[in-house]
Amino acid sequence: MLDNLALGFATATTVSNLLYCFLGTFLGTFIGVLPGLGPLAAVAMLLPVSFYLPPETALVMLAGVYYGAEYGGSIASILLNIPGTPSSSITCLDGYPMAREGRAGVALLVTALASFFGGVFGILVIAALAPLLADFALLLEPADYFAVMLLGLVAASVVSSSGTLRGVMMVTLGVLLGTIGVDVNSGATRFTGGVQDLRDGINLVVVAMGLFGVSEAMFSARGASASYAMEKVSWQRFLPMRGEWLRCLGPALRGSLIGSFFGTLPGTGQTVASSIGYAVEKRVSPNRANFGKGAIEGVVVPESANNAAAQTAFIPTLTLGIPGSTTMALMIGALMIHGVTPGPRLISDHPALFWGLIVSFLFGNLFLLVLNIPLIGIWVRLLRIPHYFLYPTIVVLISIGVYSLDHSLFDVWTMLGFGLLGYVLRLYRYEPAPLLIGFILGPMMEEYLRRAMLLSRGDPMIFLQRPGSAVMIAISVLLLVLTALPGLKRLVKSIG
């Protein structure tokens, strides 16, 4: 372990890696502060920048963008009551009331400290667990992999804000779109309509930028006529009161534990972690009566949970090749662009990349802590920039980003197509995020399904005979039934 950490330190502390880590956390926070633009948009926008960097540096930078954006989302939550990211919406509940009481400085400081605490906790978990999971993953067979991916897809569906049924539909649509291109087993071309550019399938970045960048601009540009007016942040009471320091410790620990757990579950991510952390704390806290009215614990728990989950989401991503969230799906895309295949062999095949990335998390979280306290004034000013500059800028940035992938105008047109698809889906209450997870996992699922069926000589019972896959499938079915039951009852009642 010590040798690995030493290798990680040697990789993470090179001048270029430190510089790009700093740049990533800074730009991530910058984008995360802007309401509506979360880590997914931040990573998608900056992905093309990473193409020309060595794989370690690219990953270090993108990871910095990711958790920087997660942190930035909390700033807008506290100052404006507008969550920069879905996972920071829980922070609004107590962060904004604190700001209204003139304690914005305290809330922001506590956010920075809780995020750092949760982040470091998550790093320790990932350093301890990821190698074990990678060793364990080597024992898994195709049927187990298929079942893990099925669980990931189901988990992504049931936490979808548009409901389980619509979530499953989006995931399945993503799986279908992932089949476009040449079938690797038979060499047959599928669903390309004779278009040569589609033979290699649709680029993940093109899909992501269309679904999230273009459709977001179409959705939000019209209302973005002005900046968010806000009162001046009072810095007079910057530090928490004496008794509050001690009160924060328990919630920070509980939040980090809950966040670390949910981060490792494929398909769940930070939003689930911060909301469950908040719900648990509301039950166990002696100060529960003040929750929702500006309780400091109500800021500490979601922030520590959120950041711990942001780190541990890398565990399934790196060791199994299964994204823990949509942003992690993009990180898988980034790894593949650099010729690195995520999975059980990543740690043994690319130790410098893996351990360098883990150690860079530590520096990234430190940058976040040291940078963001003095920079809060800048973020506040950033929110005053008129938003009508924002969306046209996003449109041009993503157009150039997609074009620079392969100098392909076909990609730009495809991105526009996905932008329109994402827009229509959102009009009809279909959240496009699970589609991206299905798009990533679909081809892998198909591969493992076909391999498992070949090994079992066509007997589908293989998925229930292996204990690992049987348990995963049982959990998936249970999750689906539990979440879909109320809706099904309503449907049956309305038909009857």
């Binding site: 093309p48 020309y52 049924l165 619509r166 499953v168 539909m169 399945t172 649509l173 799986v175 279908l176 089949t179 038979s186 047959a188 599928r190 669903f191 273009v214 601009a217 179409m218 959705f219 540009a221 019209r222 006529s225 008129p386 938003h387 009508y388 500059f389 969306y391 046209p392 800028t393 449109v395 041009v396 157009s399 150039i400 074009y403 620079s404 105008l409 730009v412 047109w413 526009l416 932008g419 329109l420 229509v424 889906l425 009009l427 009809y428 279909y430 679909g442 198909e446 076909r450 069926m453 070949l454 000589r457 066509g458 007997d459 589908p460 809706g487 309503r490 449907l491 309305s494 038909i495």
Partner: protein
Amino acid sequence: MLKKLSAQAGTLLIGAIALVFIFGSLTVLDLGTPRRMGPGAFPLIAGGILVILAAVAFVGDMKDRAEHQKVDWRAVVPIVLAVGSFALVTPRFGVLPGAGVCVLIASFAVDALSPLRRAGFVLGAVFGVWLVFIFGLRLPLEAFRGF
């Protein structure tokens, strides 16, 4: 009835996409056997599941008289034209003219921009694109072409 159906356009679109994949799997691709699944088997299974789910969502939404949001053409049209014009202008005149036209058209998707402000914004954005992508990142993009 037509109004009721138009309220289900999203679900119908998803169902239609699934049907295209099912049709393609059945008519063009080999389905293989359970032991050796062909390239058409997996899309057929996924497409079948999606059609069933779309039917359930359709029935549920018809019963609930589910609401949907209206298309905001004033935002959608400029953004579609902006991306389209980037794709048309860039190969002929280079990235910077493409970016300029793109920002100019996209800026019509937002309100409250005076002509002077719009011109300043376009120039600023083009300078920003040059600074970040061409000067800063040194991406192999052609700034101007045909001049």
